[in-house]
């Protein structure tokens, strides 16, 4: 093992004191240097002490975000703004179509309203004869 690959007990303790008892959380290089030492009970004790604090710290949990908060945040995103404008355009085209239909309907009503009421046609005929006379 080269000099560079060894780790002194002081350095091992310093790493445990900084990053805790799980060497998974240590930076890559010290972790690699520490792995051959783990079978030694002296180093195991150092990690156990650090783990006791880690376990205590892990008790402090935070509830996950609510769906409402996530939805509120997504609403502010650029995609949502684009979708909003896309919906707005669709809505405008819907209004255009509705306006065209309304215009056509109004036109139809106007034509009907302007037509002479008493045009004589169709003739008002009944079983008793022609009533338009």
């Amino acid at each position: 093992m080269s000099e560079k690959q060894t780790m002194s007990p002081e350095r091992f303790r310093a790493m445990a004191e900084a990053y805790g008892g799980s060497i998974r959380r240590w930076p890559a290089e010290p972790r690699r240097q520490a792995e051959p030492l783990l079978s030694d009970p002296r180093y195991g004790r150092i990690l156990s002490e650090a783990c006791a604090l880690d376990e205590f710290l892990d008790e402090w949990t935070v509830a996950p975000p609510s769906r409402e908060l996530a939805a509120r945040i997504r609403l502010g995103a650029p995609a949502s703004i684009r979708e909003y404008f896309a919906r707005w355009r669709l809505w405008l085209s819907g209004i255009g179509l509705a306006a065209a239909l309304a215009g056509a309907l109004a036109g139809g009503v106007a034509v009907a309203a302007l037509a002479p009421m008493d045009s004589g046609w169709p003739p008002l005929t009944t079983a008793f004869g022609d009533l338009s006379d």
Binding site: L57, W60, A63, L69, I73
Partner: protein, 184 residues
Amino acid sequence: MNGEDPDLALIERIARGEADAVRLLVSAKLPRVLALATRMLGDRPEAEDVSQEVFERAWKQAARWQAGRARFDTWLHTVTLNLCRDRLRRRRETTVAELPEQVDPAPRPDEAMGESQRSRCVEAAVRQLPARQREAILLVHYQDMSNIEAAGVLGVSIEALESLLARARRSLRRTLRLGVEDDE
């Protein structure tokens, strides 16, 4: 920056206005941002306000994000931390007279603590740490950031970060009475 930014592709999709990318980023990052803000501020509604503000900035930033300068996650944590620091500063300036009652974080020796009680003890103990030590613990232990990223967020060297962490952990062990001598 250490390695490629795993969030880069997502940020580029957000800049193009892809709604799915927004959804993915919010579900991946909001729990982290909210957890940091909640632990920094100790106030859930305020932490939610901060989270919303962080993402408002993120949406603006996405369009002009420059790869290679910093990881997006590091930037997100820096913004969160800065917004929390601002709020804590304002809180100190305006509510000194209304400080909540200090909780003694030390568990009684003969006490078998429940989960929620342990949680409150830890929260109180972490809150009593000096600001820089508290931030170091929050970033490395709770946010699971690498030493390089956490040092970047705090604007300190790796050695300084390790010193902050070691002092914080020693102090926490003393406060929580986890069998450590007063060695400072």
